[in-house]
Symmetry: C2
Subunit: 606 residues, 2 copies
């Protein structure tokens, strides 16, 4: 391409160059003209969402699966503010997101015109931009066509480096001005500038510490995924061959079927022996740590800094000594290079006590203690699995995942409603990623037959339910499990178990598919209240290998929940445990699996 | 009541004292405990919404009909940000709204704990509060129980005085601390402190100007409604007995069946003679002016300041001279008192040319030129009528309203999706207002049989569609007209008439009612594509006097629209008119009713 192109076109071409193949958003009268240019970019697609918050969630899901920015377009004021909570979620969880706002024209702004979507009699059209200041890593406030291309390039780069949201503010008239197409010939350098000396000092400190440890272990966490270091992490495990642990948010990031996978180390809220195995290690290498309450058993995972190495996004800390100015992905790559090709030591693995046995195994109806392992056996390698905040995110963690399951939830930010639109974005990304793999003929085992599976709850689904329409319109073959427990069960567990404010609008999900003109609604909606019913559904060909979007409604008792969620609350103390007991929540493990006396004991090294 | 009550209870009692009978919102773990106190306040109700943006819109609709603040409760971060666009809309349109945010505990905030819904490894829990700074008139950032009651009182007062959003930030632990119940015995003084001298100067300047005018006229606008001056405005018309005009946003505010009502003065985009009649007046008294593009025919209503009096919320301007420090409602009351009880002059009314005749009157299908007058004859005194931004808000304005129709749209802020949840709030408010009137035995004519009617479009409805579930759950007998024109027609008219980004998700509305367990779905859903079909539907008893929520789907051609909307765009210039013509939009009046040569001429004073 040469000659002149519009600035709008330039922006889309740049995004496409860094791997973005789909743009999400909602049209509005200050972005329509530059939406046209999307269609001019080869292989760049537009998916319109039902509202802007949903668009932001969809872009978030896309970014998590593809490792490149999710991109949304909104319009001045009404659109950009509606998306803000979704953008803040990306900030909280270090998800790459680019929010492009179509602004009023520069003349309208300079004259402070009372254009619709504004505030006041002499409106400042940039006030919404100002509101978002703390909720992004960078912003390109475009005004002059001479500097605009560089500004666009700068924030795209920042989005990758910081792994989080950046904003582009594009006045409508400016989007039509022209820039030199030759600018596209120099790719944006999205790789971090590595301070080699700093990195080598850090890596040496890590290898020194590792070599002097007797029982080292690795705790992998979510930020390793966010900073695109999944493959480096996987290589590290192969080379180290030491016990490794996941967190709620890092489940599935490495292969849990590996012999050295111990389990989900979630402080006091875990299966027997996992915490003790972690605590018994004399050195824990922690990758991409994100110790939020919901990702640490309510802050009950106590790490002793004198026995811990943290590889954080921009810093390594070895036994309390900081090595700054590093980059997580680069540190892991260099660390991998410094390790022997195959482990030189014999693997030493702690042996764990037997798992606990739920006391409601005989129930005929669907219990939560039965549901989560059963659902997991439906999941297969290559699947994308999205969990909603609440019961489901805790329940799904309670399983060993098949290899190559791409699992995502929004545990830290925890904005209910996120999961449904995020699943739309995740499925779009999965199709793009898997297609690219096929084309490169380096398909990993199982990924070619992957599906995208959403597990959500009735309360969360209601928030963003219309996005199922976008999925159907796009012909996506997503499988949606809805845990229908008659309201906000997670809230009931915290407070107001029987209060009306925790009730939601009763919903007959059988009408969801025909509402959005699903092509085969009767055969694609399934409902189970008993284990037997669910077993039959999970064996159906259309549920196993869907040709259309499928919904499986799971009717479960209002006061039943994943024990991990009960444990997360019960760990707060006696008052919380008393409340749960008195309100009659199902506690299938007794004391929510929290063993009295602070330990199950008996961790032995093989 | 005496003794001690919790701060949460104090807040609800205070709100109830100023006329709030329903609280909207979404429960979250940082507000649950103080939601309990709602049930302790006699006659205070809770309505949970399907998400927080919808809650904000609902509270906005409630406030517009009741004249007291709409109140929403959200939770830390995820909830408060989701509501933000709805709150900004209230700011833009001067709607009284109180946004109560349940925050993390003070200890969590002081320790910068990584509690879910936060951002970063050492989170500032007040960052969302900071983001909202420009989008509210005041905020009570509660921290100390000693000062908290006064702070709550202060922002409630500010909400009334400024007529716009205020925020209350309430840390969860603080909500449970106790205050003296006796504090409730002193009511909050919500009336403005009037500078009597300033006001009298202003009123004298108005009466002097009026007495020297030959053909004075009144243009009433939306802020007269927002600052609760509707009754003063109505009284003023009776006393002045001069021609009066409305704007899009003030339709229905005074009785349009009065002889002296001339019409909707919308600059160049109007029915023949209305603009000329306005321009021919030698003095225009403008009440509560809000001259946004969408409320002024795209800034084409040219007022000559030397012949104009503006009564603004806090200032009067008489022929260019400012009289500051006044209050709109108080000025009008004082002005009314200074005028003779009955008009001393003979009324003089301009005579207008005949209205234009659409050229598609013979069509069998539903045309927009036929639809809006027909729908208006369905509306009756006492109804609340809510219009969505887009085709409907322009279409509905094109009629003479029955008396006592409470009409609301969000024309300035124009956030599509607003209308559906706003209708929920409006209906809740209507029931409360009408019940109170009955109890006071001073029921106005017709208000006792009022209904709440929503007219929305398919694109807008999708944004917030789940709130219909809340309506059904609450048993509200709302009538919803859905203009189904296959996408964002208002966007198509601006740009990209045939572009895919202006398409939406096809929706079969017949499934909406059963989706939310409507008690009588088959008899309550109606669909019309022809005039004959709609005539039959509008004659059905269940549509005229609904016992349950009713949906009437109106199928209209994609490129047909209200001529006022076409006119609003065509007035921009030749390029816009060419575009509309080339893309094939239906122009039933020819040139969108914009008469060539700048005037139809011939306005005569009777």
């Amino acid at each position: 391409m040469s000659g002149k192109i519009t600035l709008g076109r330039y922006m889309w071409e740049r995004l496409h160059q860094v791997g973005v193949d789909t743009i999400f958003g909602v049209p509005g009268d200050f972005n329509l003209q530059f939406l046209d240019s999307i269609y001019e970019v080869k292989d760049l697609k537009w998916i319109g969402n039902q509202n802007e918050l949903n668009a932001a969630y969809a872009a978030d899901g896309y970014a998590r699966i593809k490792g490149v920015p999710g991109v949304i377009v909104t319009t001045h004021g009404v659109g950009e503010l509606s998306a803000l909570n979704g953008v803040a979620g990306a900030m909280s969880e270090n998800v790459k997101l680019i929010h492009i706002v179509g602004q009023t024209t520069r003349a309208m702004q300079e004259k402070h015109m009372m254009i619709h979507h504004s505030i006041g009699s002499k409106p400042d059209h940039q006030m919404y931009n100002k509101a978002a200041t703390g909720l992004r890593f960078a912003a390109a406030e475009l005004w002059d066509v001479k500097t605009a291309p560089k500004e666009i390039d700068r924030v795209i780069k920042e989005c990758f480096l910081q792994s989080g949201p950046v904003n582009v503010y594009l006045p409508l008239d400016l989007s039509a001005e022209e820039v030199d197409a030759d600018l596209l010939k120099t790719p944006i350098d999205i790789s971090p500038k590595v301070d080699t000396a700093a990195e080598q000092k850090a890596v040496k400190a890590i290898t020194d510490a590792l070599s002097s440890a007797k029982h080292p272990a690795v705790l992998i966490d979510a930020l390793a995924h966010r900073f695109n270091a999944t493959s480096e992490t996987r290589e590290l495990f192969k080379k180290l061959n030491v016990p490794f642990f996941s967190t709620n948010m890092s489940k599935g990031l490495v292969d849990e079927t590996e012999e050295m996978y111990i389990g989900l180390w979630n402080g006091e809220v875990g299966t027997p022996g996992v915490k003790e195995a972690g605590m018994a290690s004399d050195l824990v290498l922690v990758l991409g740590y994100l110790p939020a309450d919901t990702n640490s058993g309510g802050f009950s995972r106590k790490l002793d800094d004198s026995k811990t190495i943290y590889v954080n996004p921009f810093e390594v800390i070895v036994k309390g000594t900081s090595y700054p100015n590093t980059h997580l992905k680069s540190v892991l790559a260099t660390l991998n290079n410094s390790l022997p090709q195959t482990p030189t030591h014999k693997a030493s693995k702690p042996q764990l006590p037997a798992p606990r046995v739920p006391n409601d195994l005989d129930a005929k109806h669907i219990t939560q203690s039965w549901l989560w392992p059963r659902l997991m056996s439906y999941i297969r390698p290559g699947d994308v699995l999205i969990s909603e905040t609440g019961t489901t995110s805790f329940g799904l963690c309670d399983n060993i995942f098949p290899s190559n399951v791409r699992f995502q939830g929004q545990n830290y930010y925890g904005s209910i409603g996120w999961a449904t639109p995020a699943t739309l974005g995740a499925e779009v990304a999965r199709l793009e990623v898997d297609q690219a793999r096929k084309e490169e003929e380096k398909e990993e085992q199982g990924t070619g037959q992957g599906r995208t599976v959403l597990v959500t709850g009735d309360g969360s689904l209601a928030m963003t339910i219309q996005e199922i329409g976008t999925m159907i319109k796009a012909g996506l073959k997503i499988v949606i499990f809805i845990v229908n427990n008659d309201g906000y069960t997670v809230e009931r567990m915290i407070w107001g178990a029987k209060q009306a404010y925790n009730d939601i609008v009763p919903t007959n999900y059988a009408h969801l598919l025909p509402l959005f003109h699903h092509p085969d609604p009767e055969r694609s909606f399934h409902k189970a209240a008993t284990k037997e019913e669910l077993e039959k559904i999970l064996e159906k060909e259309e549920v196993k290998n869907p040709e259309n979007l499928q919904i499986v409604e799971l009717v479960v008792p209002k006061l039943d929940t994943a024990w991990r969620l009960g444990g997360q609350l019960a760990v707060r103390g006696e008052a919380a445990r008393k409340y749960l007991k008195e309100e009659g929540f199902v506690d299938a493990l007794g004391n929510w699996g929290l063993d009295e006396g602070g330990g199950v004991g008996g961790v032995k090294w093989a």
